[in-house]
Structure formats: structure tokens, C-alpha cells
């Protein structure tokens, strides 16, 4: 029983650090607002934002769910379409070589430029938001799945083909399992992009969702509410990212352990 300072020394500082930093940031923010007497319509203090969140809890909740739905719908479409297109492109090195530059070209279009076109086609509302989320997030999935397939070691392919394996055998036994780490790695990136896409579209043309709520709050000069929306977005974004990162860990632990793809 010589651990007198046990309580303090046993804290896992590495795990505690993100929480401490977050709390510290808000504390400095709060203090700065009071010390420099920054008016709330420029930068509201965290407490004021917290009050706005409490005051508008119902609307915030409703719109967060709305944004979550559009994001997940677009993301799900991106997974299905991205997987199929990725499999198609990665199936053969020649298809990969031919379509890869096209994909890069497509991806370099700033997606914000397509939102007005989507609105033109589908009218304002949730559909353009879903489609923007989809368009912006399918690309990393396609590229990663295709790359995982197209970079099968040629020796591995020779071993299997000399046994009479068909292309489908090679894909099922080698290509698809080996592209899974690429796929799950891409999901992490894609969910963040999908979220950016749906919020972006909501701020341009929608009648619900956090993006739309932010725009309305800004028009009404409800600055603390604008910030409350931001916080809601941050929480939602972090949550979705964490789920995808956890999924990646679970599904492709072998890749981390073996140092694959490093």
C-alpha cells in the first residue's frame, strides 16, 4: 500500500487527453469572450451557445435527424454504386487503365458546381442533398476498391491461373478479400464527404436539415443558434466517422497486424 498518489498517477493521460483538450478549448473560448467583451453577434460564448441549444432543442433534433438521413441515404447509394463500379474497373487492368483518368477528371469537378443543376432537375428539397452526398462520396470507394483489385500480385494470379482458375475464382479468392481494407478505409473518408455534400446542398436549396436551419438562423441574426448548428454538425460528423473507423478495425484487423498496404 505504498501507492499514496495512486489516484493521480493511474490516470491514462493519453486517453484523457482528447477530452481535456476539448474542455480546455471551450474554457479558453468562454474566458476570451468575457475578457475581451466580444459581442454575442460576432462570437457567442459556449454558454450562450449551450443556452441556444437548450432553447431550440426540438428543432435541432428534428433537423439533425433529417441531415443524418440524407447523408446516410447518399452514403448507402455511394457504397452500392461505388462497390459495383470499383469491381468493374478493377476487374481487368485494361479497364482500370482506361477509366482511371476519366474518374480523376470527374472527381476534380468541384461538386458544389453540380448542386444548382441538381436543384434544376429535382427541385429544392432533400433529393438534391441526397444526390450531392452520393456524388461527392462515391469516388473514394470506387478508386480504393478498384486499386485493391488491380494491384493483385501478378505471381499470385499466375499461381491460380496455372491451376485452371477462372477470373471469377481469382477475384473471389484474392481480389475481393484483398480490396476490403481499401474499401473500409475509403468508407471513413466517404462518410465525411457525404456529410459535407448533404449539408452543402441544404445550405443552398432545402427546406429542412441542419444546413437549412443554419441559413435561417443566420438570416434572423440568431448567431448563437448558428453556432449551435455547427456544434451539432461536429458531433454528428465525429460520431459517423468513429463508427466507420471502428468498423474498419473490426473487419480488416489482419491488414493492420500484417502491415499490409503500408
Amino acid at each position: 500500500m505504498q501507492t499514496k498518489s495512486a489516484g493521480f498517477a493511474n490516470i491514462d493521460w493519453v486517453r484523457a487527453s482528447p477530452w481535456l483538450c476539448t474542455i480546455g478549448l471551450f474554457a479558453i473560448w468562454e474566458a476570451s469572450v468575457w475578457v475581451f467583451s466580444i459581442p454575442y453577434y460576432i462570437l457567442p460564448a459556449p454558454t450562450q451557445i449551450g443556452y441556444a441549444m437548450y432553447e431550440f432543442a426540438g428543432a435541432l433534433w428534428f433537423n439533425s435527424i433529417q441531415t443524418l438521413w440524407t447523408t446516410l441515404l447518399g452514403f448507402a447509394m455511394a457504397i452500392v454504386f461505388g462497390l459495383l463500379l470499383g469491381l468493374f474497373i478493377g476487374w481487368d487492368k485494361r479497364i482500370y487503365a482506361g477509366l482511371y483518368p476519366l474518374m480523376i477528371g470527374f472527381n476534380s469537378i468541384p461538386k458544389i458546381a453540380v448542386v444548382p443543376i441538381l436543384v434544376l432537375w429535382f427541385g429544392a428539397g432533400w433529393l438534391p442533398a441526397v444526390l450531392t452526398a452520393f456524388l461527392i462520396s462515391f469516388f473514394p470507394i470506387v478508386v480504393n476498391v478498384a486499386t485493391g483489385l488491380a494491384t493483385i500480385e501478378p505471381e499470385m494470379e499466375d499461381v491460380l491461373r496455372a491451376l485452371g482458375a477462372k477470373k471469377l475464382d481469382v477475384m473471389v479468392k484474392v481480389g475481393i478479400p484483398r480490396s476490403l481494407p481499401y474499401f473500409f478505409g475509403a468508407l471513413k473518408v466517404a462518410i465525411t464527404l457525404a456529410f459535407i455534400g448533404s449539408v452543402l446542398s441544404e445550405t443552398i436549396a432545402a427546406n429542412s436539415g441542419i444546413g437549412h436551419m443554419m441559413l435561417t438562423a443566420q438570416a434572423n441574426f440568431e448567431v448563437p443558434l448558428v453556432f449551435a448548428c455547427l456544434i451539432a454538425l461536429a458531433v454528428e460528423g465525429i460520431g459517423m466517422y468513429a463508427i466507420m473507423a471502428g468498423l474498419e478495425q473490426r473487419m480488416t484487423g489482419w491488414a493492420h497486424r500484417s502491415g499490409f498496404n503500408r
Binding site: 505471381e155 499470385m156 499466375d158 499461381v159 491460380l160 496455372a162 491451376l163 485452371g164 482458375a165 500484417s258
Partner: protein, 263 residues
């Protein structure tokens, strides 16, 4: 003895990308291998040794000439050959045992039986792993094994389905001298036991002389066989013979041919 692999007057031209020139990898290539024989192919690098392997397995088609296997003209992947390369290419998400069993999931009739008879196949994999000195390594993942152990596992994968033809493309080039000699003995014993036909590509003349019945020397590109030397030392050969004069003379003679081949 009957001819098993028959490559007669074969040429292979790789068509390069637009702009770059075509490569004539081999031309007037002739090679006959009898059933059950162990032949080694040596030659300067880039002379078409790996190309020869791909021709023998039907992974590439000759631009001219004919490749026959067991009397039949090869016009597609032969579907019976085991292969091993310098890079063991194991699948990191499968245990070593499941890597070894990979061919069983592809070749008939095993691919239809492996699901229902898992235990039998598992046992078969463990037996062949044990025969190359990998007792109990089946449950380990390939990335937990050393380079030499991975190469042993790769040999097991090449032989698990009892192929009639084994092709080894510089399989030991990346290993240290001791491990390499150990693996020479592993291959020697496996060949003694299973009597498959084997073509070994190597740039190690001692390896070629130690293992092969006949050593074929290839010319610089476009490759063809310029010398075929029968190795009269009776098999199976103990590793000690590599220090005897007859052995040294044979390697020395072959070295002379290689020097000629490089021009």
C-alpha cells in the same frame, strides 16, 4: 522415357505499349523434359527464363512454334501445374494452412469436396507442412513466419494438389545461403517422394547442378537453349557432394557457357 514437356521451335514476342518497341523474348526455343525429370534452366537475366515458364504452363501463347504437354498442344492455362516464385506471395488474411489449401479450392475434383471434407484436407495440409519442417505452423499467419518458412509454405502450396508439373522460378534467390541449402534438400526429398516433373529457373549454378538431371543454358535475349548438360552424379545427392571436385568441375564448366551466353 516419354517426353512430358515439349517446347519446339517457339518464339514469343511481347507487344509493348504504344510507342515502345516490341520485345522478342525467346526465339527458336527447344526444350524437351521427360516425365519425372528435374531440369534446371540458367541464363543471363532478361533472357526469357520466366517467359519459358509461362509458355510451359500456357499462361502465354507462343507467337510461333508449338508447346505440348503430355502430348497435347497447350492452348490455354494447363490447370495442373504448381508454381513457386522468388516472392512467396502468401495471402495475409489466411492462416498458413489455408494458404497451402488455396489450390484445393480451385482444382477439380477437390474444389467440390473441400467444403464437406474440411478435416481431411486440413490434415493433408498439416502433413505436407510437416514434411518440409513446418510442424504446427499451420495456424500461424504467413507474416508471422520468416522468409525461409514462407518459402517452404509456398512450396507446399505448389505441391498440395499433387501436380504432375512443378515450376520454380528462382524460388530461393532471396534467402540466405544456409536456408537456401536447407531448401535444396527439401525440394530434393519432395521430388524423390512424389516424382513430379520439375523445371527450375535459377541463377545459382550450384543449385542447378545439385538438383537437376539436366542443366540447360540459355543465350541472351532472344533466348534459346545453347547448351544442355547432363549431370551424371547419381540422385538423391547428399549436400556434401557440393564440395567434391566433380561437382566443382561441372559448375565451372557451366560458368564458362554462361560467360559465352552473355557475349
Amino acid at each position: 522415357m516419354e517426353t512430358f514437356v515439349d517446347i519446339s521451335d517457339v518464339a514469343l514476342r511481347y507487344t509493348g505499349r504504344a510507342g515502345s518497341q516490341d520485345t522478342l523474348a525467346v526465339e527458336h526455343l527447344n526444350l524437351k523434359v521427360h516425365r519425372g525429370d528435374f531440369v534446371a534452366v540458367v541464363g543471363p537475366s532478361g533472357c526469357g527464363k520466366s517467359t519459358l515458364m509461362k509458355l510451359a504452363t500456357g499462361l502465354h501463347f507462343p507467337s510461333a512454334g508449338v508447346v505440348r504437354l503430355d502430348g497435347k498442344v497447350v492452348n490455354g492455362p494447363v490447370s495442373i501445374a504448381g508454381m513457386a516464385f522468388q516472392n512467396p506471395v502468401m495471402l495475409p488474411w489466411r492462416s498458413t494452412r489455408d494458404n497451402v489449401l488455396l489450390p484445393m479450392e480451385v482444382v477439380d475434383p477437390h474444389r467440390r469436396q473441400i467444403r464437406t471434407n474440411r478435416t481431411k484436407y486440413k490434415q493433408q495440409a498439416d502433413e505436407i507442412l510437416a514434411s518440409v519442417g513446418l510442424v504446427g505452423a499451420g495456424d500461424q499467419y504467413p507474416w508471422q513466419l520468416s522468409g525461409g518458412m514462407q518459402q517452404r509454405a509456398s512450396l507446399c502450396r505448389a505441391l498440395i494438389h499433387d501436380p504432375e508439373l512443378l515450376l520454380l522460378d528462382e524460388p530461393f534467390a532471396a534467402l540466405d545461403a544456409f536456408t537456401r541449402e536447407e531448401l535444396w534438400c527439401v525440394i530434393r526429398d519432395l521430388h524423390q517422394e512424389k516424382q513430379f516433373t520439375c523445371i527450375l529457373v535459377t541463377h545459382d549454378l550450384r543449385e542447378a547442378v545439385f538438383l537437376a538431371d539436366t542443366v540447360h543454358v540459355m543465350s541472351a535475349r532472344p533466348g534459346q537453349i545453347i547448351v544442355s548438360r547432363t549431370i551424371p552424379i547419381p540422385r538423391p545427392r547428399p549436400i556434401e557432394i557440393t564440395y567434391e571436385t566433380e561437382f566443382a568441375e561441372l559448375t565451372h564448366e557451366l560458368r564458362g557457357h554462361i560467360a559465352e551466353a552473355r557475349g
